[in-house]
């Protein structure tokens, strides 16, 4: 009575190649491909993406050719030099330092920190939300209490105090300190979606197929909330640009001698600078606005791309 699978099907190893070719011909494009197709259909989004990537590459490469310590030296000859001159494209500050060069190195620093902060805090927040939402019960309750507590900590003040207390720090330690305080938004979002997702039968099916919990969380559930993750990460990137620059603006971000977009904008704190020497701070402010708007815009388009009802690109299903 009892037979093996081989006995009841006519398909044998000989047919494998032919059949897999047949199947490959009928294959459905993956989600990522659909999203990319959607993106290509949106010209302004493509433009933003290219400008953004080009800009990031540009500041990284250009800053390699700039000798930062030398650039940060005071040069009395260039005291508040006017912009749009061959020597000082964007003028100079009170120390005679070239704003254009500071802008390039500062952009690289600020963007790198924002990227690092986004990667660390989002990864942490995603894991936290997935685990909290998947296991539920006591695990979730305990993790929620930690989340609640993190929410009441006065973040900005605490970060400033920590930065003041610790004697030495650099861009990396600063990024780590900031990461402690910026994962909660992501974790909450991911948790609520994971809670809903964990109730679905495909999770039960994976359990009865003998798949382990961690594999279910990261291989079964996570792909199903991947669009949420991508959109949220993009939007947090835009937000995170404001975190380090804001701190540096207050004077508690990157250590002295390390330019940042924030320290450049901090030039505006001097009433003389803000009106008389606008070029010392305005380009940095403009750059932050353009950066944040374009990253956000890319995030919005991605959100639309993941929402099938709003797709503009050609249907590929």
């Amino acid at each position: 009575m009892k037979r093996d699978i081989e006995d009841v099907t006519s398909i044998s190893a000989a047919d494998l190649e032919k059949l897999s070719k047949e199947a490959a011909a009928e294959a459905t494009p993956s989600r990522a491909k659909i999203m990319w197709g959607e993106f290509k259909a949106d010209k302004p989004a493509m433009a933003s993406l290219f400008i953004l990537i080009f800009f990031i590459l540009f500041v990284i490469v250009a800053s390699m050719f700039i000798n930062t310590p030398k650039m940060m030296e005071t040069n009395l000859m260039g005291y508040y030099a006017k912009p749009f001159t061959p020597e000082y494209w964007l003028g100079a500050d009170s120390g005679g330092r070239s704003i254009a060069k500071e802008l390039i190195v500062g952009s690289r620093n600020s963007i790198s920190i924002a990227i690092g902060l986004t990667i660390i805090s989002s990864t942490f927040g995603i894991c936290w939300g997935l685990i909290s939402g998947y296991y539920g019960g006591m695990v979730d309750l305990a993790m929620q209490r930690v989340y609640d507590f993190m929410m009441i900590i006065p973040m900005l003040m605490t970060i400033i105090v920590i930065v003041t207390i610790i004697p030495h720090y650099n861009a990396i330690t600063l990024t780590l300190i900031l990461s402690i305080f910026y994962w909660m938004g992501t974790s909450r979002l991911i948790r609520s979606r994971t809670l809903a997702e964990s109730q679905k039968d495909y999770v039960a099916a994976s359990k009865t197929s003998g798949t382990g919990n961690l594999k279910i969380i990261f291989r079964e559930i996570m792909p199903n909330i991947s669009s949420l993750i991508i959109v949220d990460t993009t939007l947090s990137f835009a937000e995170n640009i404001g975190v380090e620059t804001g701190l540096s603006f207050l004077g508690f971000g990157l250590p002295m001698g390390t330019p940042s977009l924030g320290t450049l904008i901090a030039n505006a704190n001097d009433p003389e600078n803000i009106t008389g020497y606008w070029w010392t701070w305005f380009p940095a402010a403009l750059e932050i606005i353009v950066l944040c708007l374009s990253i956000s815009y890319i995030g919005q388009v991605m959100r639309r791309a993941t929402n099938a009802a709003q797709r503009r690109g050609k249907q590929q299903d």
């Binding site: 209490r145 609640d148 507590f149 929410m151 009441i152 900590i153 006065p154 973040m155 900005l156 003040m157 605490t158 400033i160 105090v161 920590i162 003041t164 207390i165 835009a238 640009i241 404001g242 620059t245 804001g246 603006f249 207050l250 508690f252 904008i265 505006a268 704190n269 009433p271 803000i274 009106t275 606008w278 701070w281 402010a285 932050i288 606005i289 944040c292 708007l293 990253i295 956000s296 815009y297 919005q300």
Partner: protein, 319 residues
């Protein structure tokens, strides 16, 4: 309902204890004596060592913590070394300024956000809706401190419409004049804060109203001939307004965090500026007190919101 509230308050207690321990440990990590403010952190090491012994700063940490908590309960936050004034008095003066600014900002936020959310929902899918969405997208993307700098540059310095520093002009006398002067000083920062803080209200109200518009109960009411105006008033508003009001508590966190930037840019003498000065002067008693106070206010804000929400929405209560 009272049970829910009481339980929520009980949950708050451990949070408060952990917060105070955290602040205490941060303060311990600061040089000198951040608790009483009687040691000049810039004095010579031998003298500091002597003073620290006198003030019991070599006791075990839990004993020091306990002493500190007992002092807190007596309303004693120590002396500010820089100002030579009790910290409590300092915070009272500065706190009032921050409070006025925060309240003003919050009122403006609702005054702008509510009509915008309704307007967008009413014109769902049309040009007006798109414009409101562009507005929320722009305001939520740009870092707030950049907005403040541009705002003070354009409206403060270039156009000279608003004062650029302080909380009241020195020449103002009499109740009317001082009130007007105070108001004049908070209009620009308040307006900027409000314009760039409406995102949550607008988005929430818009989606709530749109959901309600398409819900079966509203369709039924319409088909029975109830005018749309009444539906808005009796069904849609009642459901969405209280949760939105509850946002006020949560937004305290954002307002307080933002106050540091606002007060710095506008040289507005509130708690945020007091904090920044204290950091620069290493005035540790003030720092400790302010971090604790801000944490406490955040806690109160979320507590308030949670309670209001649990009253509105029974689903929250079950948790």
């Amino acid at each position: 309902m009272w049970k829910t509230i009481l339980r929520r308050v009980l949950i708050m207690i451990p949070e408060l204890v952990i917060l105070s321990i955290l602040v205490f440990l941060l303060a311990k990590a600061m040089p000198g004596d951040p608790f009483t403010g009687s040691i000049n952190p810039k004095a010579d090491p031998a003298q500091i060592h002597h003073l620290m012994e006198i003030h019991g700063l070599y006791d075990p940490w839990y004993q020091q913590y306990w002493n500190w908590v007992v002092h807190l309960f007596h309303g004693d936050l120590g002396m500010s070394y820089e100002y030579q004034e009790p910290v409590v008095d300092l915070i009272q003066q500065r706190g009032a300024n921050t409070l006025w600014l925060a309240l003003f900002t919050m009122v403006l936020t609702y005054a702008i956000g509510l009509p915008l959310g309704l307007y967008a929902a009413h014109h769902e899918g049309k040009l007006q809706d798109t414009l409101v969405r562009v507005y929320t997208y722009v305001t939520m993307s740009i870092p707030f401190f950049v907005v403040l700098v541009l705002g003070i540059w354009i409206f403060g310095y270039a156009l000279n419409w608003f004062p650029t520093s302080g909380s009241i002009s020195a020449t103002a006398t009499g109740f009317g004049a001082t009130t007007m002067s105070r108001l004049g000083h908070i209009i620009l920062p308040g307006l900027l804060g409000a314009l760039f803080g409406t995102v949550n209200i607008v988005q929430y109200l818009r989606s709530e109203v749109i959901d309600a518009k398409h819900s079966d109960y509203v369709r039924t009411a319409r088909s029975k001939g109830v005018p749309m105006k009444d539906i808005y008033r009796h069904h849609i508003f009642r459901n969405s307004l209280l949760p939105i009001a509850a946002f006020a508590g949560y937004s305290i966190t954002g307002l307080l965090g933002g106050s540091i930037f606002t007060e710095m840019v506008f040289s507005y003498p509130g708690m945020g500026l007091l904090f920044l000065n204290a950091i620069n002067f290493r005035d540790y008693t003030v720092i400790t007190a302010l971090v604790l106070l801000y944490g406490f206010l955040n806690l109160m804000g979320t507590l308030l919101s949670d309670i209001v929400l649990s009253i509105v929405d029974p689903r929250v209560r079950i948790e």
